[in-house]
């Protein structure tokens, strides 16, 4: 009894702050969602009017669609990406610490900074278009290089095999020789003028400030180009954090399981599919839950991209809440904002419950 009391005492500070800043705020938000409060006039009870109004508003429906699409795609991509990264980085090779740090960088850097860099990279005269343009100019070099390397590799392997040596198709020593010889060959072709960069139109793809969608003309099912850009950014910045969770999980898988699998004749893919993935199930639950919650509430990246993309194209539920709570130049529409916030929280709860069913059902 005494011990339980002590435990509750230790919990008290946290419970108090939770009650004040979350419990009280949540209850108040629910109350406001049934009123027409604007922060200055006394709130009037309007019943379900706010909920009816937002479901009639195109912008809310777009935000809802964007949020759900964003959440499903980003969660799937970042989970897969994080798992692959973790498995790759779990290898014991030289300099692995460097790669682990490098891949974790996007998560350490502030979201605001990363988004700004991203904004510049995706400008019409930005890095991404520059790289595409560069590729279009120089792809003959790349093609020649790869073709030459493939031919050289083939020759080397066939030569070795004809002499009875059991070499693999991608023998590292031979690959290195092929690549070096191929590079020399391409340089020679360039110097003699056989190969030259192509003349191309400057690439001016509009990534952000555009109304195009993918797939084009897909109606409610297609996602806007700027939102797809944000998905790429979001996956890239959040996957490394989940990679860390997976890395920790990988360390816990007993070596014996892999040894037993190898004895049974499982190849690398089968080991991954039937040992690694099931053993990481509890981590996957955590990653997917955190991913769903985080991506449903995504706000900052939309806010910073701001006027660089049409609002309808990138608005998410969290941003919809904000834009009604603080509409630039107009009085706050707290009732509408609260109603949308309540819907967002219900949606998050449902998403996590469904996902829990799915993960547990699979086990």
């Amino acid at each position: 009894m005494q011990e339980a009391l002590a435990a509750y005492l230790f919990l008290l500070p946290f419970v108090l702050s939770l009650l004040i800043f979350f419990g009280y705020a949540f209850v108040r938000a629910i109350y406001f969602s049934f009123t027409d409060y604007n922060m200055f006039d006394d709130p009037n009870w309007v019943g379900l009017a706010n909920y009816i109004a937002i479901f009639r508003e195109t912008r809310f429906l777009v935000a809802l669609r964007n949020s759900i699409g964003f959440s499903l795609i980003v969660t799937a991509c970042q989970t897969a990406f994080a798992l692959v990264l973790a498995v790759v980085l779990n290898n014991k090779i030289k300099g692995i610490a460097f790669f682990r740090t490098a891949y974790y960088m996007p998560s350490v850097a502030s979201s605001v900074v990363v988004t700004l860099i991203f904004l510049w990279a995706f400008q019409r005269t930005g890095l991404i278009n520059y790289v595409i343009e560069w590729f279009l100019q120089y792809w003959p070099f790349l093609a020649a290089f790869l073709a030459l390397a493939a031919v050289l590799q083939l020759l080397q392997v066939l030569w070795d095999r004809s002499r009875g040596r059991p070499v693999r198709w991608f023998e590292p020593g031979a690959v290195l020789t092929s690549l070096m010889l191929s590079a020399a060959g391409v340089t020679l072709l360039w110097a003699t003028g056989t190969l030259s960069p192509l003349e191309v139109e400057p690439v001016r793809i509009v990534w952000l400030n555009t109304r195009r969608s993918i797939p084009e003309g897909g109606g409610w099912l297609s996602l806007s180009m700027p939102l797809v850009s944000i998905m790429m950014l979001n996956t890239w910045t959040t996957a490394p954090t989940f990679m860390l969770l997976y890395l920790a999980g990988l360390q816990d898988i007993p070596r014996e399981l892999y040894e037993a699998a190898a004895v049974d004749g499982a190849n690398r893919w089968q080991q991954f599919r039937f040992v690694t993935v099931p053993q990481l199930k509890h981590i996957t639950f955590l990653v997917v839950a955190l991913g769903l919650i985080g991506s449903l509430q995504m706000f900052d990246q939309v806010a910073i991209i701001g006027s660089a993309a049409p609002l309808e194209a990138v608005i998410t539920l969290a941003y919809y809440v904000y834009s009604n709570a603080f509409p630039g130049g107009a009085l706050p529409r707290v009732g509408i904002a609260s109603a949308a916030a309540v819907i967002l929280s219900i949606l998050t709860l449902i998403a996590v419950l469904i996902q829990r069913r799915v993960v547990e059902g699979n086990g």
């Binding site: 604007n38 922060m39 200055f40 006039d41 400008q123 019409r124 005269t125 001016r204 509009v206 400030n209 555009t210 109304r211 195009r212 006027s307 049409p310 609002l311 309808e312 603080f326 509409p327 630039g328 130049g329 107009a330 009085l331 706050p332």
Partner: protein
Amino acid sequence: MQSGRLGRFLRPSTLKTGFVALLIAVLIALPAAAQTTVRVSGWGGTDIAIVEELIERFVRPAVEPQGIRVVYEPIADAYETYIVNALSAGTAPDVFYVDIFWAEGLMRAGQLEPLNDYLAKSSVLRAEHIIPELLDAFSLNGQIYGIPKDFNTLALFFNKDLFDLAGVPYPDADDDWNTLADKLRRVAALGPDFYGLALQPEYARFGAFALATGWEPFDENGHTNVLDPRFVEAFKWYTGLLADRVGVHPQDVGQGWGGGALSTDQVAAAVEGAWILGFLRDSAPNLAYGAVPLPKHPGTGQRGNLIFTVSWSINARSQVKEEAFKVLEALTSPEAQQWVLERGLALPSRAALVDNPYFAQPDPEAQANLVVFQGASDGYVHPFKFLNYGGDWMAPINDALGAVLLGELDADTALREAQQRFDALTGR
């Protein structure tokens, strides 16, 4: 055990230290209590140094002898959000900036103190001292809710070197849309890397051209009609400049706004306000630029313009309104405004300052400031506010401009879409 720990805090030595600290606190607070404190707020950034010096030079000497203590509390970020929250919570400062863009909501909500009675009694600050267009912007139903501290309008800033290089006469005050477009076309003919006007896809720039046709943002029923032939004409002229590089989207020269585009030496002209001056001073110190009024509409023979302005207003729930008004008087006194003007920081709102010798200087900044100053009362001028719709009102126009300037929609389709959004927003 428990009481032992508590006892340590009640030991005589701790009590004595506490008592001494309390005594010191009371002694420090005593002189302050004899004064009235007026809290003043504005936004952060470069503004802080200006307001601090303004208060030090002009406000404190004027109000401190009357027992008024001024405390300046600049807000670093999200100023509008801060003010709305603070007003709602009852913790707002006594005197604070109100931007014309979001002023109307606060005026209608009764959060700003009407100043008519104070102005009538005042000996140094009267309604007739202030440029009427600016005062109108902060008035609602005959009540004045703020004293404009300064303002900006739009002017045509151009790169003299590019015009010289092309052998084209500079833009001037007599240009209309056609003659200006012709001049820009000849400058753009310099080569594929040269462009005429920077075309920001925003009502905050384009609006001046729409107003020049005589179009009104709201009809008598408060509805907005962007299918009005006058608006359509301005829209097609502005977006049509893109042909032959007479105009360019700032993004295409790697810039986010007209000022940045002008600083690249590739773009002949930009429509901006006096805020561009500080930027050019820092980022393009060698750029030879000039400023002229915006071109006239060939049909109406008038220019259009937008007024961007910020007022000092008083919190309607302030406990020290009389004192706050004294601070407001000092903040907008002729001396304070002259000091701000002569430093090239901002344009004063007092009409009498148009005769200030500063404006007669040959220096391009002073000349540009004069053009911007006169823009407030030349032709069809509207304040940069949209009843209480705020940014929601501009979004349909901005999106339409963006879509057409990026070649994703044609003008007619874009305007039809915009009109549908206005019908939903302002009613049919």
